[in-house]
Amino acid sequence: MELESVLAEKTVECITSRPYTSVSPDTCLKMALETLVELDVGCLMIEESGRLVGVFSEWDVLHRVAGNFSDAELESVSVSEVMSRDPTYVYESDSVAAVLTVLALCGCRHVPVLAADDTVAGIVSPKRLAAFLHDEVADRSPR
């Protein structure tokens, strides 16, 4: 099967999107930073009552946090104050091609995945996507 067909037919569920890490909006910045590092992930989903309300990623650390908060503020300011609100997401039933185009259009590196009932189901990370694409491409020789 052509790669274009594979990417158009396989769904997001074929890209591992679990486990994922979420924290509540009132989590302090210091805890959010430590969670990113300890779990070796690049993005946290901010969840409130099972609903996605934002994401907090290493991009936010670079562009909104570093140098803007004292050590004391890192422990008192909540992640909701600097998170990216209303993040772009995909559904589990969307195609891999849909994820690729969302990433190309929005320029984000992580895409939250929602279930049909709009609850958080996972996240597509750069590492997971690269592994998926690598597996699809690497074993096939040019024709």
Binding site: L7, L33, E58, V61, V65, T101, P126, R143
Partner: protein
């Protein structure tokens, strides 16, 4: 040719490459951050005297340093680099870049010329833009869903 063939045969120079932000290793972290914020980028490259890449300063290395609690923005950027530096030559196939990203778990790849001099940055976004060109109908559908213009794309990051 199809996508498989193109990934194996098209060189990285065909990707939409990002501006290189070259840094001297003594550049203060504060200035490195400012340079990336100005350009809306997530990665800068530390280069030697002749422009060869020697290290990568990314949002990830910064996050790790900040979480560690001992970050001084006046410290040289050389103290805050990623453990991995992925480089791919301009004329190597796109598959080589995908391989580097997968093996090293990096989002950014430094593109070098034939002499090994750093010339640009690419990574996940560059690869996604390349792949998305094979799905023009999907691009239009998703652009409407996420509310962006299919031509003018949003910032990198996230």
């Amino acid at each position: 040719m199809g996508l498989y063939e193109d990934i194996w045969t098209e060189p990285c120079r065909q990707l939409r490459l990002r501006e290189l932000v070259p840094l001297d290793p003594t550049t203060p972290i504060r200035d490195a951050i400012a340079a990336l914020r100005d350009r809306r980028l997530g990665c800068a490259i530390v280069v030697d005297a002749v422009g060869r890449p020697t290290g990568m300063f990314t949002e990830r290395s910064l996050t790790r340093a900040l979480a560690g609690g001992a970050l001084s923005l006046d410290d040289p950027v050389a103290t805050c680099l990623d453990p991995e530096l992925s480089t791919v030559a301009l004329d190597e196939p796109i598959a080589r870049m995908l391989d580097a990203m997968n093996q090293r778990g990096t989002r950014f790849v430094c593109i070098v010329d034939a002499g090994g001099k750093a010339v640009a940055i690419t990574g996940q976004k560059g690869l996604m833009e390349c792949l998305a060109e094979y799905f023009p109908r999907q691009v239009n559908v998703m652009a409407r869903r996420v509310g962006v213009d299919a031509v003018s794309r949003k910032r990198e990051g996230g």
